[in-house]
């Protein structure tokens, strides 16, 4: 349908529903033999550059209950701050690192896990450097349109203090909801709260 500036409306979103895993992680859902492996399971396809880390967490709803039917995807730069994407024009990213991960979460505990690398810093269009961050996208039953957030690292205080996106946040007491906490051994904990007093900041990007 043509609008006043002959632009078409975006296809409206709908919930991914409780059976998103049939389509996106069929082997995890018990449908084996269709695809050799679930997409996004492995972010490292060879020896990678940089610090290897593990990101763990869970998605909580407004009553505090953990979601056991969410699907979480992450997208991030490599250790050198380059994206493994055709429209990355600043250089060539680490070919052994995809930058994209997908986790169905544990069927009982709902906990998601990503084996990845700590991303390097990426500039804003005006040249200012962003702090190391991971773009996070969440879909599930009950979520009508996918939720975007960002994961920053609690042990990058200096970079976080000058991050252009974090600087825009008026409610400073909510910033910790975007900080993954180091737990030792290269593990970072990032819990997502969809609603309530510790509600995660979600973005309209």
């Amino acid at each position: 349908m043509a609008g006043p500036s002959d632009e078409t409306k975006e296809t409206p979103s709908q919930t991914a529903g409780p059976y998103v895993h049939i389509g996106c992680t069929p082997n995890f859902a018990g449908i084996e033999g269709v695809y050799p492996e679930d997409l996004g399971q492995r972010m490292k396809i060879g020896p990678v550059k940089g610090e290897e880390i593990t990101i763990r967490g869970a998605v909580h709803e407004g009553t505090g209950t953990v979601l056991r039917d969410a699907m979480v995807e992450i997208w991030q730069a490599d250790a050198g701050g380059l994206y493994n994407a055709p429209n990355e024009t600043r250089g060539t990213a680490d070919p052994n690192f995809t930058g994209w991960g997908r986790s169905a979460g544990d069927m009982e505990t709902g906990e998601f896990t990503f084996h990845t690398v700590k991303p390097g810093r990426v500039p804003c269009p005006d040249g200012r450097l962003q702090a190391p961050h991971v773009t996070v996208w969440i879909v599930a039953r009950g979520i009508n349109i996918g939720l975007h957030t960002r994961l920053y690292f609690a042990d990058e205080a200096a970079a976080n203090a000058e991050d252009p996106i974090l600087s825009r946040i008026e409610h400073r007491n909510r910033i910790p909801t975007l900080l993954a906490k180091p737990e030792g051994g290269g593990v970072y904990r990032f819990d997502i709260h969809l609603q309530g007093p510790s509600e995660t900041i979600f973005f309209d990007i």
Binding site: E10, V34, P86, G127, I205
Partner: protein
Amino acid sequence: MTSTPKGGYAARDRGWHPPALTPPYKTSVKRSPSAPLLSFPSTLSEETGPVFGHHILGPQDNDLLHNFAAEGQSAIGPRIVVHGRVTDQFGRPVAGALLEVWQANAGGRYRHRKEGYLAPLDPNFGGCGRVITGEDGSYEFRTVQPGPYPWPNGANDWRPAHIHFSIFGHGFAQRLVTQMYFEGDPLIWRCPIVGAIPSREAIESLIAPLDMARTLPMDARAYRFDITLRGRRQTMFENRREGL
């Protein structure tokens, strides 16, 4: 691949999409953020995204009639072809877009560990498929038309027949999950998930019409479902050095 324009993504029209909180769809009540979303102009982190090559596809990935079936067998149900084009909101084709689809079988039963609807599984139907768009943004897959199924929301709620779509464009900001419905299904207008979408016009954009021109005589009916992703603004005069 078609070249991608530079510039940030045009803002999403959130009055066109369903809002987060839609109480007739009960699960949304405790899974919807209560604070407003924080807006910022897109950066490289949103303007890039994973792009998948055709090498990830197996020969039957877009054939749900056969990709889970035993040798010489096929899924039971009305045979259909679903096809369409993926373009951005400025009319540019989106080449190389990965579409992942999933659905129930002809009786409305999903093949999933947590699903216990009494309609039987079809031993020859898995319910997942995927396809990557061509240079002109077109895609096509074949499957069986899924059946409606009951769900625990209201006391007697039934989902219309639908196919779920997950779509990757060229930037992570374009990431989209939606559902396709079938022309003429009377359940569409009774469904609280469909009804989460504010306007009739937006709902109609999710209803695939029967496409007799692409229907294969004595084989399969065809439905056409075109998909529109967010577009990037032109940047001829863009000067982003003063702001983000």
